[in-house]
């Protein structure tokens, strides 16, 4: 493999790399000074559009294009919400960026706020990241003292306040309108769109929601240039006019059954196998992979035979996964029961469904109860089709829910049962020799109280 010099992770391992002095010594904030002196917001938007940067939070929507959806000549205020609610199982790159290089994130925030004419930015940080909280707050304080935040930044006409806002351990707050509702002090129930946040978002004002890693990429695009960014990754498919390409470096979070779990920076388009073998030191204990999650648990599962799939925005979809997601790659070895993996996934989504849409609330909780029954030795082959039926009908894609949480719950279910059906059937036959063929309705294991 070609050697690749980390950029987003350049501060990792540098003593006091999280401080302002270190960040400046690496060239940080010089691009901001240049932009505030010589550029207009429209120039910044054009640069980010030209770079091809796509949002790193999961959906992969082109960042510059998202910014252009804001109304023109709006009297304000316009808000920037930075999504640091990183909660997708397997994902931890935002944590590393906030802890080890918070000024890189802040410079990206100031540049993005300038581009979108936002005068207030809120960083919505998940509760479980106390170290990120302290590091970010320390960096914000340093930035205010150095004139990099607050009134008339670096002597320009641009002013920006950045506030940290702490969540309370709910996955749904990572959904952008759930985040907005939570920030407003309400339960984090996602909103029906349209109106999109760009038109009516936080406090009913135009709002942009961007991920922490996206902010770090914006900072690097202004330090190293559009050409540099576009020289990395996978170009747009000329045969597909709707493909915006997968440009730039990406932080891949590698975990599970590998020798060296960690956050690795690589060009978009590295394959899962390269990531596992080259960076992760291979599957642990000399075993083979049975399955690999390509981008957080909601993206589904790849089989061992699919590991040469490039992990760019278009890759995982070609093998039936939901997408690249957060690029959190979780390796599952061949000694692990796929029934246990799906049960773990179902438990997560049943716990994290916000309860607003019935197909998701009931679908996630009933799929968990069915999987608990299967694991208790009372499974029936008919259950697999029942799970698939639920997986095919709950979510934004079939049109039954407001947000994508249910799609994320459905995908591992559909992938696991379609790609590993033989293992599920063997498990059910082995553990329920007298009842695996029954198709009558079965009572639940326990009486479940009403919500």
């Amino acid at each position: 493999m070609q050697p690749f010099q980390p950029v987003l992770l350049e501060a990792v391992g540098i003593p006091d790399g999280h401080g302002l002095a270190s960040y400046r010594s690496r060239g940080g904030y010089a691009p901001l000074e240049h932009v505030l002196r010589d550029k207009k917001p429209a120039d910044v938007i054009e640069t980010v559009k030209a770079s091809g940067l796509r949002g790193r939070g999961g959906a992969g929507f082109p960042t510059g294009l998202k910014w252009t959806f804001l109304p023109k000549d709006h009297p304000g205020p316009i808000y920037l919400c930075v999504n640091a609610d990183e909660s997708e199982p397997g994902t931890f790159n935002n944590r590393i960026l906030m802890e080890d290089d918070p000024h890189q994130v802040l410079e990206g925030i100031v540049l993005s706020a300038f581009a979108t004419r936002a005068s207030t930015a809120y960083i919505y940080l998940r509760y479980e990241y106390p170290r990120s909280w302290h590091r970010l707050q320390g960096a914000i304080d340093e930035a205010y003292a150095a004139g990099l935040l607050g009134r008339r930044i670096l002597g320009s006409d641009f002013s920006l306040d950045v506030h940290l806002h702490r969540g309370a351990a709910a996955y749904i707050c990572g959904e952008e309108t759930g985040l907005i509702e939570s920030l407003e002090g309400k339960r984090a129930w996602p909103r029906i769109k349209p109106p999109f946040p760009a038109i009516e978002g936080l406090f009913r004002k135009p709002t942009v929601v961007n991920n922490i890693e996206t902010m770090a990429c914006v900072a690097q695009i202004f330090r190293r240039g559009v050409e540099w960014f576009r020289s990395i990754g996978v170009p747009a498919d000329p045969a597909n006019p709707r493909d915006p390409g997968s440009y730039g470096p990406k932080l891949y979070c590698l975990s599970g059954h590998v020798e060296r779990p960690g956050c690795y920076e690589a060009p978009l388009g590295i394959t899962a196998r390269q990531l596992i073998d080259h960076h992760g030191g291979g599957v642990w204990k000399g075993r083979k992979a049975k399955a690999v999650i390509p981008g957080g648990i909601s993206m589904g599962l790849m089989t061992e035979a699919e590991l040469d799939t490039p992990l760019d925005f278009a890759g995982p979809g070609k093998v039936g996964c939901l997408g690249l997601g957060t690029a959190a790659v979780v390796v599952i070895d061949d000694a692990t029961s796929i029934v246990d993996v799906l049960h773990n996934s179902a438990r997560f989504f049943a716990h994290e469904s916000c309860g607003q849409c019935t197909p998701c609330r009931e679908g996630t909780s009933w799929s968990l109860r069915i999987l608990e029954r299967i694991r208790a030795g009372k499974g029936r082959l008919a259950d697999l089709d029942l799970l698939l039926e639920m997986g095919n009908t709950m979510g934004m894609m079939p049109g039954s829910t407001i947000c994508g949480l249910a799609d994320g719950a459905a995908w591992p279910m559909k992938n696991a049962i379609k790609k590993f059906r033989g293992e599920f059937e063997d498990y059910i036959r082995r553990t329920n020799p007298s009842g695996w063929m029954v198709t009558d309705p079965v009572p639940a294991l326990q009486i479940v109280g009403a919500h």
Binding site: E86, L183, E184, P261, A328, V330, C354
Partner: protein, 169 residues
């Protein structure tokens, strides 16, 4: 119109109210202070009793039901009784589970003689399962107040959890 009586505060201290008010300029709407206020009270009292909800609502100009609605949504703030001085979250999501997360939760609870979600009789320790803590590079992991404990076993975790720890912020 007769102004509603100003309730005498019994749970929220002047200091708590001052800290809530200090955040008010950050938001154009006082309802956005709900989560920060709940965190301020919870950090001190280790729970948010219903009386505190009523008093927070009065401070923010909201109906108590609005604050209670938000509080209960998160399942994060204990209401009936305080959690332990050290609150422990043991990750049970996929990356930790693949490396022994479920066994870690059961094992460490057993070492302290409590069930998951339980508190030791001396009130020192509460252990709860948690969804992904975002530290999958150190699986299985747990959070003890502000400290991330990495690559734990029931034995190493039990040794860590008897050490004194800073209060959660």
């Amino acid at each position: 119109m007769i102004a509603p009586p100003v309730p005498q505060r019994k749970v929220l201290t002047d200091d708590m109210v001052a800290r809530i008010e200090a955040l008010a300029p950050r938001y154009p709407d006082r309802r956005a202070l709900t989560l920060p206020a709940l965190h301020i009270v919870n950090a001190e009292l280790r729970h948010v009793p219903l009386e505190a909800v009523v008093e927070i609502a009065a401070v923010l100009g909201l109906a108590p039901a609005e604050v209670q609605d938000t509080l209960t949504f998160y399942q994060f703030f204990h209401q009936d009784k305080p959690h332990g001085k050290v609150r422990v979250f043991v990750c049970r999501s996929i990356s930790c589970a693949l490396r022994g997360g479920d066994e870690l939760l059961t094992g460490v609870c057993g070492k302290f003689g409590i069930e998951p979600y339980g508190t030791t009789v001396d009130g020192e320790l509460t252990i709860e399962p948690a969804e992904c803590l975002g530290a999958c590079d150190f699986a299985p992991c747990m959070l003890a107040n502000d400290d991330l404990l990495r690559n734990m076993t029931p034995e190493t975790a039990a040794a860590e959890l008897v050490k004194p720890r800073a209060r959660a912020t």
